[in-house]
């Protein structure tokens, strides 16, 4: 039952109960009040009716008293004279007095006179016996002395109202002479009259009338108990009050009924009805007034919230939110619920995310995860590997045992599984074939223990270690290859020369790569021919050079020529060769230094150069290249060393030559002159005085001496170079050269006059020119030479050019014939310059020297 229904029912029931209790209370308190009030009204009316009857009695009493006081009456009672009767007791007297009975009793109670007047017939009738019985029976005797008596005597005609009064003289205290009795019938008309007086219908019925109406019977019964009045509701509109009318002796003789309408009762009813109506309307209003806000403030939002929560709960969509209205507790509740939802959503998202991550992790792992529960005897596989192997995510033990993968290597798997269930950790390897490819797995099984140390399951990880296995295999292979390459490198290291290296390269290639022929060819300078220089497999003499040009390769040796030209290794595993070779590999060895060489390998097997073999082969050729370069460098080093040796030897020789020359000059020239001078001076001084002639001769010798010394000094090193710079020194040099050799020197220079360089630069430049000129004088056989010196791009350039017979520079350089030229080349190199000697027999000579002037001003 919903809250709304419960609330509605509770409030409805409360108000219903409230209404019932209130209406009962109203009825039980108001109705008796009105009842009592009505009864009182009835009693009052009965009193009034009785009073009306009593007023009749009072009238009778007054009539009786008036009559009894009359002296004639007194006398009559004593005398009973007839006169009186005639005078006073005619029919008319009855009518006048308005009485129906008149009787006189003597003091003993004996009836003196008595008649009954019938108004209808207007006749006097004698007294009925019943009445006389009353008088004479002594029933009324007691009243004779005491005073007047009044009462009703039931007669057959009608109830008779009787008044007994003692007859006394008017002004004396004489004893009464008898009693006067007067009576009046309470006829229907009289009753009606009485009803008119009290304005209520009055009914009088004999008390013991057998044909009494029902209500009278009920009233008589009620009046049996000592109560004065009884009331009986005749109907909704009418109520009757009853009272007993006693006869003169005090016995009930008649029943008096007074009827009246129930105005009070009815107005009471109306009032109650109004009250209840008001109550009902008020209740309904109250219910609505109290329910409306309840509905608006609590029930409707509550129901909406319940609906929304139900919807969210059913849909499971945590992104939905409750509607938040207002600021009451419900709104707060909704807001808190929303916060909770938010956190739930967040938590859910996080959970999903981590779940997804975990799943991705497991899915992306190459590993296969296996779980097994001992109790349920079920398990499952997870992971990409598991999918590839077709392992189900859920599996029972019999299914597990019948898996084809398990069948393959069942003993291992089964034993490991059983042992693991007994609590031991198991690691083992196994393999299976998937899509025709062998896969290796490493399984690690671990038991799962509960708190008591019992095995409740098994968790296992199967790792695809195929790649590791392959790696391992490759590694072994690589180690073998490396070992082989190491051996080869050791052999290469021990090679003494290029030619033996070449031979070894061919021999090892044939040995290690299972070949039929290997040879090395050297390319010529113009790259048009490859000459075999080393071979293994066939004698070197049987191999012929390969001729080709850039666009045309001989078909027989096409791969070799092409590899050589492109400087890239080339493989042909299906070659048609007249010598029966089917696989050819051509690998260029080096092109950086020296002449390019190429290693050519031949096998009579097709497909001999597999990728793997090729890989090792390339490594081998790299080693070979290195080894060759080593040998080359060694050769160069050896050459350099030899050249250095030559140079230093020559330096020593030059030094010795210079010394020899100076010594010779000093001894032969200076020494001779000095000796001559000394002899002259000796002979010029004689005991007789100086010989002027000999002194003049001596002076001549001294001049010659000065000249010689200056000459020697200039030959050794012109002071001009230091004092005046390069150009004056070169000018002097050229002039001197022309003087000494007769060869015309044409000197051109630019950008050098008035410019000084470092001593080293100037000296080197000077010596280059000097040496080049010397060379011209020695070899060129010309009468003309051009010397040019200029600066450009901050570089000093010297050129000495002749058009003489020329020579082969290599020849001269190598065999050390021209020590001077070789010396200045070294010297140029030493100061960072560059010297070239261009010459060939018959083409003249061109010596070029250039020197950067970076640090010079």
């Amino acid at each position: 039952m919903t809250i709304r229904k419960t609330v509605f029912l509770t409030i409805g029931a409360t108000f219903l109960g409230f209404f019932v209790v209130l209406s009962i209370t109203i009825r039980s308190t108001l109705l008796p009040y009105f009842d009592r009030f009505e009864k009182q009204m009835v009693y009052l009316n009965l009193d009034r009716a009785i009073s009306a009857i009593e007023s009749n009695f009072d009238h009778l009493d007054r009539t009786a008293k008036d009559l009894a006081r009359l002296d004639e009456t007194y006398a009559f009672a004593q005398t009973a004279n007839q006169e009186y009767i005639k005078a006073y007791l005619s029919k008319n007297a009855y009518a006048d007095l308005g009485i129906n009975l008149l009787a006189f009793l003597d003091p003993s109670g004996k009836l003196l006179y008595g008649n009954l007047y019938n108004q209808e017939t207007d006749i006097l009738e004698p007294l009925p016996e019943v009445l006389i019985g009353y008088f004479e029976g002594g029933k009324l005797a007691t009243a004779m002395h005491t005073g007047s008596q009044r009462g009703i005597i039931p007669l057959d005609q009608a109830p008779l109202m009787l008044m007994i009064h003692p007859i006394l003289p008017a002004e004396s205290d004489a004893s009464p002479s008898g009693k006067l009795v007067i009576g009046q019938f309470l006829t229907q008309s009289e009753i009606l009259r009485l009803g008119g007086i009290v304005q209520l219908p009055i009914t009088i019925i004999p008390y013991y009338d057998p044909s009494l109406p029902k209500d009278f019977v009920a009233a008589r019964q009620m009046l049996e108990s000592p109560i004065k009045y009884a009331t009986l509701a005749q109907s909704e509109d009418l109520i009757a009050g009853f009272s007993a009318l006693n006869d003169i002796e005090g016995n009930p003789a008649y029943l008096l009924r007074v009827e009246q309408n129930r105005a009070i009762f009815q107005s009471g009813q109306v009032l109650i009805r109004y009250l209840i109506t008001i109550l009902i309307s008020a209740s309904i209003m109250f219910v609505f007034v109290s329910l409306a806000p309840l509905e608006g403030i609590i029930l409707s939002p509550l129901s909406r919230m319940s609906r929304e929560v139900t919807q969210i709960g059913e849909s499971g969509d945590l992104s939905q939110r409750l509607t938040v209205k207002g600021k009451d507790e419900l709104a707060r509740l909704a807001r808190h619920t929303n916060t909770m939802l938010e956190q739930l959503q967040l938590a859910q998202e996080k959970r999903r995310e981590s779940e997804a991550r975990f799943r991705t992790l497991v899915e992306s792992m190459n590993d296969m995860v296996f779980t097994y529960h001992t109790e349920t005897e079920t398990g499952g596989f997870l992971g990409r590997s598991a999918k590839e192997l077709g392992m189900p995510e859920e599996i029972t033990l019999p299914e597990l045992r019948s898996l084809p993968v398990a069948q393959n290597v069942f003993p291992i798997q089964h034993q490991a599984f059983e042992r693991c269930q007994n609590g031991s950790h198991e690691v083992y390897e196994w393999s299976t074939e998937i899509n025709g490819k062998q896969h290796f797995y490493q399984n690690a099984l671990s038991p799962i223990f509960d708190r008591n140390g019992n095995v409740t399951g098994v968790v296992g990880v199967g790792r695809d270690i195929t790649s590791f296995k392959q790696l391992e295999e490759n590694l072994h292979q690589r180690i073998a290859e490396l070992a082989m390459l190491y051996d080869i490198s050791q052999i290469f290291l021990s090679q003494p020369s290029i030619s033996s290296t070449n031979d070894t390269i061919c021999r090892l290639a044939v040995d290690k790569f299972d070949l039929d022929l290997a040879w090395i060819g050297n390319g010529t300078l113009d790259s048009s021919r490859i000459d075999p220089i080393a071979s293994c497999g066939v004698p070197l003499e049987t191999l012929k050079p390969i001729y080709f040009d850039n666009n045309h390769f001989p078909p027989e040796s096409e791969p070799i020529a092409r590899a050589f030209c492109n400087d890239e290794p080339l493989i042909d595993n299906h070659v048609q060769n007249t010598a029966g070779y089917q696989s050819i590999a051509a690998v260029p060895l080096f092109t950086q230094t020296g002449t390019p060489a190429i290693l050519n390998l031949f096998s009579k097997n097709p497909d001999h150069f597999t990728p793997q073999r090729l890989r090792v082969l390339l490594a081998y050729t790299n080693l070979a290249r290195l080894s060759l370069q080593n040998a080359c460098l060694y050769d160069q080093l050896e050459q350099g060393r030899r050249r250095l040796e030559t140079i230093s030897r020559r330096l020593v020789e030059i030094q010795e030559d210079e010394r020899k020359w100076i010594a010779m000059e000093l001894h032969d020239e200076i020494g001779q002159i000095l000796t001559g001078l000394k002899l002259l001076l000796d002979s010029s001084i004689s005991p007789g005085g100086f010989s002027a002639e000999k002194l003049a001769q001596s002076r001549g010798l001294v001049y010659e001496l000065i000249s010689r010394v200056r000459q020697i000094s200039l030959d050794l090193r012109p002071a001009m170079l230091d004092d005046l710079g390069l150009i004056p020194a070169v000018l002097w040099l050229c002039e001197r050269f022309r003087e000494q050799t007769g060869v015309q020197v044409h000197l051109h220079h630019e950008g050098l006059d008035n410019r000084r360089f470092s001593t080293q630069v100037e000296t080197t430049a000077f010596r280059v020119i000097q040496e080049a000129l010397t060379n011209v004088a020695r070899h060129a056989q010309v009468n003309r030479v051009t010397v040019q010196a200029w600066t450009a791009n901050n570089q000093l350039n010297i050129q000495v050019k002749d058009e003489g017979i020329g020579f082969d520079p290599e020849n001269i350089m190598d065999n050390g014939q021209s020590r001077g030229l070789m010396g200045i080349r070294e010297r140029a190199h030493f100061v960072g310059g560059f010297l070239t000697i261009e010459s060939a027999p018959g083409t003249g000579t061109n010596v070029n020297f250039s020197l950067p002037l970076i640090s010079q001003k």
Binding site: R710, D723, L731, H748, H749, E750, Q795, N797, E838, N848
Partner: protein
């Protein structure tokens, strides 16, 4: 009226010889002797000689430099062993009034001093102003064509380079190593005062080595 003379020579023997030679002329008075260039400058300041005889070769400050520094206070006669116009020219450039070779006769020297003291230049034989002029003529820089200084190889490389060939191709074509090609190339560019490939092409077009097609 006597002529005051300062002697500047690092050789005492030469100074003694000179003093003996000069004092044989009564008109000449040697008022001081300097042992090197610095002393010479100091003594000129101090003694204000009319003539200073300076040896061209002195340790430390050379005779030419000394001449340059003192030529406004005294008239310098250079005493030199160099019978070379270059020296003469240099000495005159530096403000010397006379240039006398050491192996000249004593008469030459005395004559030189008298000439110089009279305000005339004196060059000892065989020098003359004419010879000096000839030397100056000869030593002047000459216009020449740098392209003609290129060697045959350099010219080959030059042609191949302006044809747009790479060093590697040129090295194959000329059967020399790429490094050598590079050296030739840098040399020829230096000789021709060129700095870039664009300069090279421009030069080649200017010289008509390649046409501007």
């Amino acid at each position: 009226m006597s002529i005051t003379i300062l002697l500047a020579d690092d050789h005492r023997v030469v100074r003694q010889g000179l003093r003996a030679l000069l004092e044989s002329d009564p008109e000449l008075v040697v008022i001081g002797e300097a042992n090197d260039g610095f002393e010479a400058i100091q003594l000129v300041e101090k003694l204000n000689p009319q003539i200073t005889i300076v040896d061209i070769m002195m340790p430390g400050l050379g005779g030419l430099e000394v001449t340059r520094q003192i030529n406004n206070r005294t008239k310098v006669v250079i005493l030199s062993m160099h019978a070379n116009e270059a020296y003469v020219f240099e000495a005159l450039q530096n403000g010397a009034y006379g240039y006398v070779l050491k192996d000249s006769t004593a008469e030459d020297l005395v004559r030189a001093i008298h000439n110089v003291a009279a305000g005339r230049h004196f060059l000892s034989p065989p020098f003359s102003e004419k010879a000096i002029s000839a030397y100056i003529e000869k030593s002047q820089p000459t216009q020449f064509d740098p392209y003609k200084t290129l060697t045959t190889r350099e010219r080959e490389v030059f042609h191949l380079v302006v044809e747009g060939l790479s060093n590697a191709t040129i090295s194959t074509r000329l059967s020399i190593s790429p490094r050598t090609v590079e050296t030739h190339r840098s040399n020829l560019m230096n000789k021709l005062s060129l700095h870039s490939q664009a300069d090279l092409i421009r030069y080649a077009i200017k010289r008509g080595i390649i046409s501007m097609e």
